[in-house]
């Protein structure tokens, strides 16, 4: 019985791994193909079945004058906007979440849970509903087509995620730890910064991971709120599309754009295990 269980376990894990890895392998092999290799039926093995070429990759880095799209600028724009917005969201979100977890707020029928829900509800609305208000808002501030404008909008989009994750995290941190810090001689701010915050790093990393993912993959607002001065990676990649779909350079662009997320996920992965999240204090 245990043998069968082990067999089935590995069978499904390997099956799942293949399912996850296959698109990557496909994209990698496609990124090294040219027009003929892509359209001439399925091929898998370089040099044997098709002649690999770097054309798909070079398009990404060539300037427009040479028929490329040069993603380097948008790439760093995306990194800058995502990291800045995520960082600010985590800082503000953590403070908000700590207050919501530890203090009682009451304004009429509105209580802590309602405020938390209000934060999360920002993500419930379809983005298209927010597009016009955001456009008008940034236009009034003169921040359309600017990194600062995008950061502002992304903070609005990412903070609910940070608050949501951190409220849950703090709720699982026994309040005795704050109380102990107060008894040991901290004021509430010291208790938060010296004791609670260092213990909350796992939660913040997880919240950070989600913020980075959601910030990095956004196309909609990057497309609507920027024009020529500032471009983010997803918008730039879409510019690759033409009457003949360039599968090779799209594949290369997909790999380049997913790489930072994979690196971040690997760094944060060990904190995702339940033990690290819930047992941080007791």
């Amino acid at each position: 019985m245990p043998k069968l269980y082990t067999f089935l376990k590995y069978f499904f894990v390997i099956l799942w791994a293949c399912f996850v890895i296959a698109p990557f392998l496909w994209a990698i092999s496609t990124s090294f193909k040219d027009f003929n290799s892509v359209t001439g039926g399925a091929t898998y093995i370089p040099w044997l079945q098709f002649e690999p070429t770097l054309d798909g990759w070079s398009v990404l880095f060539k300037p427009g004058s040479q028929g490329g799209i040069n993603i380097i600028g948008p790439y760093f724009n995306s990194i800058f906007v995502t990291l800045t917005a995520s960082l600010i969201s985590i800082v503000l979100g953590t403070l908000a979440a700590y207050a919501l977890s530890r203090y009682t707020f009451k304004a009429g029928f509105v209580k802590n849970n309602d405020i938390t829900f209000f934060f999360i509800s920002q993500r419930i609305m379809p983005p298209v509903v927010l597009s016009i208000p955001f456009f008008l808002f940034l236009s009034t501030l003169g921040l359309l087509d600017s990194l600062a404008g995008l950061i502002l909008v992304y903070i609005v989009l990412l903070m609910p995620i940070a608050v949501w994750i951190m409220v849950d995290f703090f709720n699982r941190v026994p309040k005795e730890i704050d109380e102990t810090a107060l008894i040991d001689g901290c004021n509430p701010f010291q208790a938060f910064f010296k004791v609670v915050l260092p213990n909350s790093v796992p939660g913040m990393l997880v919240a950070g991971l989600f913020c980075i993912i959601f910030g990095w993959i956004d196309f909609f607002f990057a497309f609507i709120l920027t024009f020529t001065k500032v471009q983010l990676l997803p918008v730039k990649i879409v510019a690759l599309n033409s009457s003949i779909t360039p599968w090779w350079s799209l594949s290369a662009a997909a790999l380049v754009s997913v790489a930072p997320l994979i690196i971040v996920a690997f760094i944060v992965e060990r904190y995702l295990s339940k033990g690290n999240l819930s047992g941080a204090l007791k």
Binding site: E176, L182, C186, N187, P198
Partner: protein, 357 residues
């Protein structure tokens, strides 16, 4: 160090409700400087609320708190200079054991050399000296609790050390040693210790004074001997002692005599003035003796079972369809079916409406 006085304290967690529920009903209580107290009572009786009021984690909805002459009712926790240890270990997981123990002193800006000396001294007492450089997170539950305890002990000048069932997670042998250690610390530094527990043995062996609470009220405060011999309420009689006090509904037949069913007993309490319907006789199983023949204050009971606890035997018997428990020496020969039990008059407590007369 200070005398702590709770003056007409009461607390409700929702005082503005139309019919507020009081976790702590109105009471006044004082804790002498350097005393060793146990706060005993079942779960949910208000013990922790009382501790939190003293430490400032909870501001009482009614009444005042004094440390010596100065009122501290609204003083914030960190200014009260009180130490509190919770039921479950609370450690600062990102710090080492040394840093954990030094934390309360660092927060209060003690000089480094004094911190070092005190941390080493306390770590020796608690057997933590070999782990000082270890991360606190990786230790066992009882070691973690020792750290919590240690953080309470590093400060000598605290007004009191409040302990909320601190030894729950610690194994019995270490528990015993720690209790003794706490007593030593109390003797040495004259620090007021207030120890919350629901374990009467822990309370009896630890404290000079025991405060028994039930449903948000202090039902009796006194020495272990007082609580054992003269429980002020049937609750205390039932709660303190193992087995619980034998309690029987009875009726007064004359000034110093009561009857339980067909049996009558002399008592040393004057019950002439009582007109209550709710009269009870209470007697500790330790004071009931086995006799060879019927005499005054004795009764014949049918034995239900005799349990041998090694150092004593516990007889469970019945008379007039009520059960009686007697704790007797294990060498005593006990008849197999019927036994004559004597209830000495001087140890019979009479309760009117569950309160001792």
């Amino acid at each position: 160090m200070a005398k702590i006085v709770l003056d007409n304290i009461a607390h409700s967690y929702d005082p503005n409700a139309s019919n507020p529920v009081f976790a702590l009903k109105q009471m006044s209580l004082s804790w002498a400087d350097g005393g060793r107290y146990a706060l005993l009572g079942p779960s949910g009786c208000g013990k922790t609320t009382m501790l939190n009021i003293m430490s400032g984690l909870v501001t009482p909805s009614h009444g005042k708190v004094f440390f010596d002459q100065s009122e501290v009712t609204r003083m914030i926790t960190e200014e009260r200079n009180i130490a509190q240890v919770f039921q479950f270990p609370v450690i600062y997981g990102t710090m080492t054991v040394y840093e954990n123990l030094a934390f309360p002193l660092k927060c209060r800006q003690f000089p480094e050399d004094q911190i070092d000396k005190k941390v080493k001294e306390v770590s020796e007492i608690l057997n933590l000296h070999n782990f000082l450089d270890n991360r606190a997170k990786g230790l066992t539950a009882d070691q973690k609790q020792l750290i919590s305890l240690g953080r309470g002990l590093v400060r000598e000048d605290v007004a009191a050390i409040l302990m909320d069932e601190p030894l729950t997670v610690i194994d019995p042998d270490l528990k015993f040693r720690l209790r003794r250690k706490l007593k030593e610390i109390n003797d040495k530094y004259k620090t007021t210790l207030i120890y919350v527990t629901h374990d009467q043995n822990e309370a009896m062996t630890f404290a000079d004074n025991i405060i028994v609470m039930d449903q948000g009220e202090v039902v009796q405060a006194g020495s272990p001997k007082d609580l054992f011999e003269r429980p002020q309420t049937t609750f205390v009689g039932y709660f303190i002692g193992s087995p619980a006090m034998n309690l029987y509904e009875c009726s007064a037949t004359s000034e110093n005599q009561i009857s339980i069913g067909s049996n009558s007993f002399k008592v040393h309490t004057n019950i002439n003035n009582t007109d209550s319907k709710d009269l009870k006789l209470g007697i500790r199983s330790e004071y009931i003796t086995v006799e060879s023949k019927l005499s005054d204050n004795s009764l014949e009971a049918d034995i239900i079972e005799v349990e041998d606890f090694g150092n004593y035997k516990l007889i469970t018997a019945s008379f007039d369809s009520v059960k009686i428990k007697a704790k007797v020496k294990r060498e005593l020969d006990i008849p197999s079916e019927k036994v004559i039990l004597k209830l000495p008059a001087e140890h019979c407590c009479i309760y009117e409406d569950n309160k001792l007369i």
